[in-house]
Amino acid sequence: MAGWVKYIGFFMTVVLSQPVLHADEQMIDVEALHAARPAKNISAYNLFADNQSQKPNNGLLPYDLIVPLFTDYALKYRFVHVPEGSSANYNDSEAFDFPLGSILVKTFAYPADFRKPDKNIRLIETRLLIKEARGWQAWAYIWNDDMTDAKLKVAGARMPVSYIDKLGLSVTVNYAVPNRNQCKGCHTKDREFTPLGPKARNINRDYNYKFGAANQLEHWSVIGYLSGAPKSSQAPKVPRVDDVKVPIAQRARAYLDINCAHCHRAAGPASTSGLFLTFSEKNPVNWGYMRRPVAAGRGSGGLEFDVVPGKPDRSILIYRMASTDPGVMMPELGRNQVHVEGLALIRAWILSLD
């Protein structure tokens, strides 16, 4: 690239970022978010006061989950917007019923070194879910190297990412940015696009807001984002998977709930398998206990049952979680690596079963 082009690029970047850097009071551009066509660049929405740190502009509320979905160890920044004058309806077991105009934003990022997870963070993609009259629309934007802007990728993309992991080892992953259909591959309930994360049981935790820590369910209610929610102590809550004080069965089921049950449930895309992994599923055969596979193909790995009590190595669940072969691995999408910690948890749980 010629030097002067680079110079102009730098100049433009400085100019464009000026107002953003100094104006915390800026609003996100709701009109742009609700335009008939998605913007080509994410900057059109004015979502962030600062891209790099993912500091949101007014109108976007950050939130966290108790148990996040595993996505190749990516860090995630989550935000929600609910239009003035309307609110999401609380639901005990499903994702909240958001009003028209609601927006969910999730940015995926990697630190250069997971031993210093707050430093040198590289943004990869930001996904938008926008509730329109025709249903939730899903778009993925891929950040440029300077993290000045992100570009819409309708068909998804592959992004090679390198980082140092917690053990100090160098890892390269061919990170997959999903397209809209792939998003829907998980975000489906009864064929309709649906959000996954904002379920009572998974956001019922504290968040460190600017004014201090508060329970997210209660704060959402206070600011009018949510209506009909009970007190947080009355609402369901999944345990943290790394909280060893919690019985392993509950932690394992919480893990399977967030990582698998969006498909593996009666109303989900994997309904035909008959394997249902929701946190509330009571019937042992339904959650895999001595359950035979139906259409697993070579995903069975020559094993006969999904979960064989006490025998992780004879359980198809383990075989598929431990694989990165697309014809075998579960979940089908969203990971190119094995989630070592998740696998260890599920192994230990199966070992504990009688």
């Binding site: 061919n174 397209n179 591959g185 035909t272 008959g274 259409a295 193909g297 014809g327």
Partner: protein
């Protein structure tokens, strides 16, 4: 027999030519390095009513394709011209996934997917025509499970297509209804064609050959849609299905004995007529109960109301798989049979008083056809007095026949 061969061959003449219609809304996808992005973008952004034309060429894709817009046609230049090669696929448990209604896929090939070839999930009205799904390395356990795989769908038409090498079933329709599978070739799969937990299927004028089992009609317990019924298998050529079973263990098809022509397991209302069976080494037709433990109160494991008539049987049962040898051979010195029924009936009542006429197994075949009833239930209740029944005349009879399956796809063409 000759007439039937000619009839099937004529219907197969259309196999390798894609049809072309005039449409207003066409998106062209050209061959080149951006083809994946172009095609996947078209599959997402196309308006209903669009035809997406994919130019001839071999496309190496590392990610799956998916379609969730209704009323779309995806058309290649032919099953040997437009080839989607998924050998290097990095994610996605199938090559192509369709989740929208009234979709037509035609004139292309999907080869070497690590998982399933083309999966159709939860749709109303889908047509797959002149499509090839193939694992090019021959029959191997490492091949994907299903070639053409509609599930939880209705009004399913698969025609003039070719499936080779699936490690489970080449053409597999599960938990669906209103299904027509016609004029296809399925070969070197574990199961050539399988209808599972489905209602109202016509499987006709296909050639199913060199699979482990030619055509399977199964009903399995513990699934959202159970109680499979009303399947007609007719005018098919089912031959040489003697490939050693290469399905990964744990899957139900892994227990299908090599050398099986047709296997009916735990269904009700199955008609098998006017087919040609030849050179299936274990048996041309096996009628059996689901053999495993199950936890499903609504499930009926026995095969009921089966009718076999007008089929032609060439040499069969001449070199049965070990399982058949153990089941049959241990109890008789007689030659093996064209037709094997396990004789499993629904409980002690049926054992004492016979099956209801409505549920009986009827065999109305030409003289010289051989059959054995293993009388499994007798074996259970009276192991000391049990014997095989090899008198085919005991099963002769006829009954009211199933109606042909009507599809909206066929109404439109008329």
């Amino acid at each position: 027999m000759r007439d039937q061969v000619i009839k099937v061959m004529i219907s197969l003449m259309f196999l390798f030519s894609a049809s072309v219609f005039a449409e207003d809304n066409i998106i062209h996808v050209e061959h080149g390095p951006d083809a994946y992005e172009q095609l996947q973008e078209a599959l997402i952004l196309a308006e209903p009513g669009t035809t997406i034309m994919v130019a001839a060429g071999r496309y190496d894709f590392v990610d799956a394709l998916s379609l969730d817009v209704s009323d779309i046609t995806v058309r290649g230049a032919g099953m040997d011209k437009t080839i989607f090669n998924f050998k290097g696929q990095q994610a996605g448990s199938e090559g192509i996934l369709v989740t929208s209604d009234r979709v037509t896929l035609e004139g292309f090939a999907v080869v070497d997917t690590p998982g399933d070839g083309i999966k159709i999930k939860g749709v109303d009205t889908v047509t797959i025509r002149v499509v090839r799904v193939e694992w090019t390395g021959g029959p191997k356990a490492s091949n994907g499970a299903y070639g053409l795989y509609p599930v939880s769908s209705k009004n399913v038409l698969i025609e003039n297509s070719l499936v080779i090498g699936a490690s489970d079933a080449g053409i597999y329709v599960g938990q669906s209804q209103n299904i027509v599978i016609r004029h296809n070739i399925a070969q070197y799969n574990v199961a050539g064609i399988e209808i599972e937990n489905s209602y109202f299927s016509d499987v006709h004028n296909n050639i199913s050959q060199n699979n482990t089992g030619g055509i399977l009609v199964f009903d399995l317990p513990g699934l959202p849609q159970g109680g499979g019924h009303s399947t007609r298998l007719f005018n098919n050529i089912i031959q040489n299905n003697n490939t050693a079973n290469f399905a990964p263990k744990g899957n139900i098809v892994a227990m299908v004995p090599a050398g099986t022509g047709v296997m009916v397991m735990a269904n009700r209302g199955i008609e098998v007529f006017d087919n040609i069976f030849d050179e299936n080494a274990s048996a041309h037709v096996i009628i059996a109960a689901y053999p495993r433990k199950y936890y499903d109160d609504a499930y009926i494991p026995t095969a009921r109301r089966v009718l076999l008539t007008g089929n032609k049987y060439g040499r069969g049962g001449f070199d049965p798989a070990k399982m058949i040898k153990t089941l049959v051979g241990s109890r008789t010195d007689e030659v093996y049979s064209d037709i094997i029924w396990d004789g499993a009936v629904d409980g002690f009542w049926s054992f004492m008083f016979g099956i209801d006429d409505d549920d009986s197994i009827l065999v109305d075949e030409a003289a010289g056809t051989t059959m054995v009833n293993l009388n499994i239930v007798h074996e259970i209740y009276l192991p000391w007095g049990s014997s095989l029944d090899q008198n085919i005349e005991n099963y002769r009879g006829t009954r009211a026949r199933l109606q042909a399956v009507q599809l909206p796809q066929d109404q439109k063409q008329e």
